[in-house]
Symmetry: D2
Amino acid sequence: MLSINKKKIFNDPVYGFISIPHEIIFDLVEHPYFQRLRRIRQLGMTHYVYPGALHTRFHHALGALHLMCEAIEELRFKGHAISKEEEIAVCIGILLHDIGHGPYSHTLEQCLVKGISHEFLSVEFMKVLNEEFGGQLTLAIEIFMDRYPKRFLHQLISSQLDMDRLDYLKRDGFYTGVQEGAISEDRIIKMLDVRNDHLVVEAKGIYSVEKFLIARRLMYWQVYLHKTVVGAEQLLVNVLLRAKYLAKQGLQLFATPSLAYFLYNDIDRGNFDKAALDHFAQLDDYDMFTSLKVWAEHEDRVLSILCTAMTHRKLFHVNLESIEVPNERVRELERQVVEEYHLTPEEAAYLVMTGSTSNNAYNLDDNRIQILYKDGRLVDVADATDQLNMQYLSKSVTKYYLCYPKGLLR
Amino acid sequence: MLSINKKKIFNDPVYGFISIPHEIIFDLVEHPYFQRLRRIRQLGMTHYVYPGALHTRFHHALGALHLMCEAIEELRFKGHAISKEEEIAVCIGILLHDIGHGPYSHTLEQCLVKGISHEFLSVEFMKVLNEEFGGQLTLAIEIFMDRYPKRFLHQLISSQLDMDRLDYLKRDGFYTGVQEGAISEDRIIKMLDVRNDHLVVEAKGIYSVEKFLIARRLMYWQVYLHKTVVGAEQLLVNVLLRAKYLAKQGLQLFATPSLAYFLYNDIDRGNFDKAALDHFAQLDDYDMFTSLKVWAEHEDRVLSILCTAMTHRKLFHVNLESIEVPNERVRELERQVVEEYHLTPEEAAYLVMTGSTSNNAYNLDDNRIQILYKDGRLVDVADATDQLNMQYLSKSVTKYYLCYPKGLLR
Amino acid sequence: MLSINKKKIFNDPVYGFISIPHEIIFDLVEHPYFQRLRRIRQLGMTHYVYPGALHTRFHHALGALHLMCEAIEELRFKGHAISKEEEIAVCIGILLHDIGHGPYSHTLEQCLVKGISHEFLSVEFMKVLNEEFGGQLTLAIEIFMDRYPKRFLHQLISSQLDMDRLDYLKRDGFYTGVQEGAISEDRIIKMLDVRNDHLVVEAKGIYSVEKFLIARRLMYWQVYLHKTVVGAEQLLVNVLLRAKYLAKQGLQLFATPSLAYFLYNDIDRGNFDKAALDHFAQLDDYDMFTSLKVWAEHEDRVLSILCTAMTHRKLFHVNLESIEVPNERVRELERQVVEEYHLTPEEAAYLVMTGSTSNNAYNLDDNRIQILYKDGRLVDVADATDQLNMQYLSKSVTKYYLCYPKGLLR
Amino acid sequence: MLSINKKKIFNDPVYGFISIPHEIIFDLVEHPYFQRLRRIRQLGMTHYVYPGALHTRFHHALGALHLMCEAIEELRFKGHAISKEEEIAVCIGILLHDIGHGPYSHTLEQCLVKGISHEFLSVEFMKVLNEEFGGQLTLAIEIFMDRYPKRFLHQLISSQLDMDRLDYLKRDGFYTGVQEGAISEDRIIKMLDVRNDHLVVEAKGIYSVEKFLIARRLMYWQVYLHKTVVGAEQLLVNVLLRAKYLAKQGLQLFATPSLAYFLYNDIDRGNFDKAALDHFAQLDDYDMFTSLKVWAEHEDRVLSILCTAMTHRKLFHVNLESIEVPNERVRELERQVVEEYHLTPEEAAYLVMTGSTSNNAYNLDDNRIQILYKDGRLVDVADATDQLNMQYLSKSVTKYYLCYPKGLLR
């Protein structure tokens, strides 16, 4: 039984209450690495469009943990053996699955820590924690990296229907106020089963799975890839690229020591050592936005224009289109920026951003969702549904964005 | 009719949607002064206890605006004349009622801007905005300061049953996940009426008013004055007091220019000029917490101990008691700190905090809530209810706190 | 302004509060014809599967009225002229759109009032009410029957995106507890506009429309055409067919006078006179189920078997399949019933039911949903969406059911 | 493990899903005695005021069962031994706690089954079921009747904080739409513990208990004792008294056989035999209301006036007052009825009803709620709270009603 001091219940507007199921989970939640997630928003700049979307990776990790406990209970109820050790390990795995996220991760990965994914970092963090905790995370890391024989345990952490996705869709829909994102995570969990070491869904849960896939796609277009959000993220990318450029020129930039470390050094997977990890473990939304506010007054006009746009929420105009943006259109907009803002062409390039973004709700290549019929048959959800056109839902859709200061001619 | 470009709808997890009712409201929302509220949490450090409580003063102000629009519609439906100008003014008044809040306001008022209340600052901000907007806020300021003849308009903004309280109780209950705080703001608004230029509540709304008073009191004890929250706030007070002390000694402290302004200068109501206002308008939660993170590594051990406690959420032990804490107990704890942490007595005093906090749910002295019976009688809610002991609810309850590092003997 | 005695607010678990907007609406709600809807469940026997689904047509009609008020406010806000008379008429139209429903309507139409639809009856009821109310419903009837020039008013009452559907999807999803049915009726209404006298939806509402179409289809399969519900309805059909058969034989059957009227007479559209209307206006769920309970003890074994199955909820086995049920399979089951229950072949036929049921979420032939782009273009939702396969969603899906007593071999 | 055919999940708008935990529970739910509860509304005529309040005793019993499962899990988590047999027994006990309820119970007890409480009937039903189930309910009956040594198990079924109350407050608040009734049943359950064989509540749950007591009282005044509801109930009492009177005169009254049994016989505790039980087991809301509809056309004018008032919802005027209604006022109203309706004084007495109703939220005499402090102290909630005036909340409040046809002078 849990020591009374480590019995803890978190209030959660989404599920009501979240209980901490094991002592080591309590200790990991208390660790500064995990506490850091309190300062990293789940949805970065999305609150600029949906002001309620301020929830953190801390709360998401606890929510996913809560769903994991329910999933394990359900699978045991259906007769699948899961040992106490496996239970704790899979709980640790889901709790720490995002521990490697930095602030505005996708943005950072493009400019601050080149080519270092948060998945890579999560494992790095877990290894350090495993040492601190005397090897108690070994099994969790095995499962997390999908090296453990019972593969369905890994699928609970990472697959097309894992506890991570169930929680983030539910939670993101809740905090944005986008009811369309609401999924029946409780019903899906009650329909989970295991066959051939794979997580499967009972046939009568198929509508909930369909709804889940639709909700996921809608959330992509309505929230995750909302054009204003995409525009704000690109603004931040260029802010950081410009700051790094200025740093290379030797200019002074207001920054916390850890942010300065990544501005004044080029860190990539090759030279990402313990020192880099320690600095990374200090970074959060606060470092970024505080600098942005100060940089809005910087003498470099490119930096100050971009930062002012962000802090005053005078965001750029964003087009989101189905075909690639022609080069000449970008050049023309840059020419207008040169004229309007009296910048050099090199500087102007920071104010016109283009690129692409894409998504598919279901991946046909990877670990498909299987539906379990009463007669024992297993059928890929893509074949089981007669409601959705899964070929369609699994098609990757790419959109091309073009961002530039408002007031320019298009 | 609203220009199409200024027609805006905000998603809100609490009410569904919030529409911006007038062009000038749109322009005020866009103003950097108001956008700043996106970076100031409504409940300061409360998210350390209730991790969902991350909502901002920005969202609260929009929510209160939403309720104001509904209240005006209801009062007009009941035959009370409210002109278009008055409607806009009262909407501006509620939108900007918290514009003078800084980050962690109550804490700041104790150490950074001595004796300057956020109410005073709100009016200062409104005056500056009024100039910018060519006098369009004049009527709003009149109503806000209760100088306008139709006093019930002021009461919609500020009274014991105003749109501010209705929104914050509802919203704080929602985001903390404390269902006990849930109030029926929609029912209360449908029961509002005006008699003798005073806002009153129809008799059949009395249960909702009772529930509102109970909920308010419960929220005080369960959320606003939660002992862990009180402890975290006192920690922050002492962080800033220590930082100011070090600043006075001429030590270097990492800080944004605007935070530095308040650390290195003593600002009070006497010398609060436009320069101070401009700096204040730059301050938000980011300045504070970023500095805390950097100061956790500061060579001054008092500062680093306090800041580490905060950033790693290794909060101090907090007692909340009904009687004043005896001086000798404080002294004894300070002695233990001296020994345990190898500090001087002066330094140790920063690690032991004591003081008091109090609240009453209903104020008998001030602008009582009046219940309107079908026969036209008006009765103070304290006399109308036979469910609650209003004498009790209106009694101010004071609690005394004592905070000190964990591990010390009590 | 509304007379104070006729100002009424209904509590609604779905929307919070529903206000009665006009005096005549109040009077119509009070009328026994409308009060009768309190005794007719919206979803007939569905509560046998979803025990919360006990909501009535009374509550649904009030809910649809509530949405109508919001839709009118939104359209006026967008500059479309709707006169007070038109507003009242369209409110009456939506309030009474289901006034012609009897208990378990779809079942009744198959056996008690042959070939008389509830739409036909709704108009009949409105005509009678129009006389009682001195012609005050004339415009409402014009709009309801789509004879009024402003056709978008009719579309608010009846189209692929009318207030009826918005309320019933929302309400049915709510009371069944099927979260998948949740739609954003508030967002859809905020996106409504009118072009060329047609209701259209602003482009940024397209996700909500997509979600609405998906939700509608899912509700069909998960609730409306749930196989247990289909089976219970067929049971009821055969109960009534058997009762009518026995009545024709001159046997005594316990029934209220009004139910007896329809059992002992053959009523169809040709002989549906005022007397029939008066009796119809007396029928509700109570007449039906009370008789079923008493008939469970009837000496006719077919009747008592069917009624006992219903009242004790020992429902029959139901197959729902994609291809038509072969005749020989039905014959074989009937043979088994003859043997097992010692019935004649004619009697046995009442215990084996077969037939089909079908639905499509979107109708391509009829009054398509149009999406309005910012540049003024109008595009059919089927062409506007790149998320859904509308060809698929609009395809009618037919399922064939086969019901028979449990325990038989298939 | 549960046989797969008996694994059943009910959708519940209140809790999401309710699982059936044991095979015998499944069998009891399927039994006609329990299925009968599908046809008995939890709140009788309350839907005349709150149209959503149509939920049944069937759904309430399942809801209370759901909470029981959670309470048992919580108590075991805290180290209290509860055997499998005890668990099943206490689940049966809560499932069947209301099995003895008839339609409109409180009304029936006043006129149809004189002096027979539903508690008495519940035990009778359980005994019959125990025989049918070969003694499997013996332990459940022991616990239900508080004859089992572990008394806290009984308290889970029946005490001031039992699963019955937790579910009905939650559920009634939900379906009426009265948010004030919302309680935190999940939090209360998480705070439950056992000391000295008594159910107690951990100290940090005290606010939730306070809220529960307040909510209970508010629900009484706003819902259970709402004057319109009280009036409708009295109407029904007098309908049945008049019907019995007419039956005694030998008049023919439309009724199902089972209702006729209670109309034409005087049944009380002395002659309540198996035949009476069998008839009682057939009675539900349908019998009552169907007769009311037919009686509205009865030649006896008293009966038809009362029944028409009910079926057309032309309810009587109701006064609810703090002091007893003087006899002369009643007589005066009866005189007016004689004149207005041309009735005899004896007949007129059926149209003027008076009596009293009372409630207290907390009972000081009986099995008080105990609060458990961290130091092990147990304190009565009445002494533990400093928010509420428990003396006040536990005071019984009596209200006197007076009902008479609208249009009469008072």
